[in-house]
């Protein structure tokens, strides 16, 4: 009994960062669709879930395989009320792009990573703009898209901090 309970504790301890990672991803998902009066940005909300996708694709891509990103993007699409598959597609694209540039990005300082996140946001908004324009024949004004990119970029350092902590915990547990 002692052996099994201790091995269970070891297992829990080993998988704690992974559990925390996914709990945080779900928190980001719910934040993405919640009405946040603090920000007072109307219906504009920072791209919370994209922050998680970006960070973990860069620092722990094994924890978020492509199918899981697709599923969580699909869940966001169902809950947000827009075109189904749009975020799923964008998250996969962002993840693949980061995976192809991981070595380069990991060698850069924090400021370059931040700018890279901004590039990812602009890329996602551009893809969404094109697809929405193609299928629905209209799109939001450009200033609104620029504002959306700006608030997402500004919110990234704040939302990144817990993910950074989980990543450090992962190495501490290893």
């Amino acid at each position: 009994m002692e052996f099994s309970s201790s091995s269970f504790a070891v297992r829990v301890r080993e998988s704690a960062p992974l559990i925390l990672l996914w709990l945080y991803m779900f928190l980001l998902l719910f934040l993405n669709i919640s009405s946040l009066p603090l920000l007072d940005m109307g219906t504009l909300t920072p791209a919370f879930l994209l922050m998680g996708v970006f960070f973990w694709s860069l620092y722990w891509s094994q924890a978020i395989p492509l199918w899981s990103l697709f599923l969580i993007g699909f869940a966001l699409d169902l809950l947000a009320g827009g075109l189904v598959g749009l975020n799923a597609l964008c998250f996969c694209m962002v993840s693949l792009l980061i995976l192809s540039q991981t070595r380069f990005l990991k060698a850069q300082n924090w400021l370059v990573i931040w700018v890279s996140f901004m590039v990812a946001v602009v890329l996602v908004l551009s893809i969404q703009f094109l697809l929405v324009y193609m299928f629905q024949g209209g799109s939001p004004p450009l200033y609104e898209l620029a504002l959306s990119a700006l608030i997402s970029t500004l919110a990234y350092p704040l939302m990144m901090w817990p993910m950074h902590w989980i990543n450090r915990l992962r190495f501490a547990m290893a």
Partner: protein, 304 residues
Amino acid sequence: MMRSRPRSAPRKTSARVAMMVAQIARYSPFGFLILGFFLVTSSALAPQLWQGPRTAATDLVSPIVSTLSRPFQFVADGIGGMTGINDLRAENDRLKSENDRLREWYQTALLLQAENKSLKDLLNVMPEPSQSYITARVIGDSGSPFVKSLLLTAGSQDGIEDGQAVLGGQGMIGRVIETGRKASRILLLNDINSRVPVVILGSNVKAILAGNNENILDLEHVPPDTLIKSNDAVTTSGHGGLFPQGLPIGQIVKKEDGTLGVRLYSDPASVSYVQIVEKPEDVNTRRSIQTLTTPSSSFEEDGN
């Protein structure tokens, strides 16, 4: 030779499976991209296919989203209360509410004037059935600049139905498009997919109010050579039977390019609570719908 054959066959099979898995893994990124694009296409061409899964997902997570938004509301209220300009806020709120009340009275006066005129013209007209409302809290939004929708904490168990008009503090802001048991989603008037039949008071011109994802909405199918003035009130026309007649929506403004647009009375982005207009419970209306849907039985009844 005879013994080695059964051993090599499973090996070959497992090698084939391994190769197939490797191939799938190799091409899975493209598979997911293709699947994503396929989903987007299906959602754009046949959005009704996804209504069931959307409603179920919304119902499932609405309690979590509702709980999650409460601390933010609480903190926002707390910060607002602690700041030194609290008194100024109170005064401002009082003036705003007074202004809102006066605007409502103004709208009421305009509506009564229009109704009075219509009644004088058509002496025997049957008045619109009285409306009742359901109040619900806004717990979420799309979180995307591409979709203008809100999530409410009321669903079919509270009397919400698809197609009902939704009012903000001062006027209509959208309509219910998805109804779960405990939650529902409304499409805002400024969403690109929104179309509402309206009437411009004063000139009595009928038009279609079209969302464009901007703050000033478009007016479509306005008859040419009609005199429409800025600040004219726009209300629902009641055409099509989906919405009641006379719900205040906004006022006419001239856009920068010289065309006419409509500014909403209620800013959909800033509402915390909304009122959903229940469908009329009028006996005559119900009877006429019944007559239309089951003509044979009603004829029989008439015959008897």
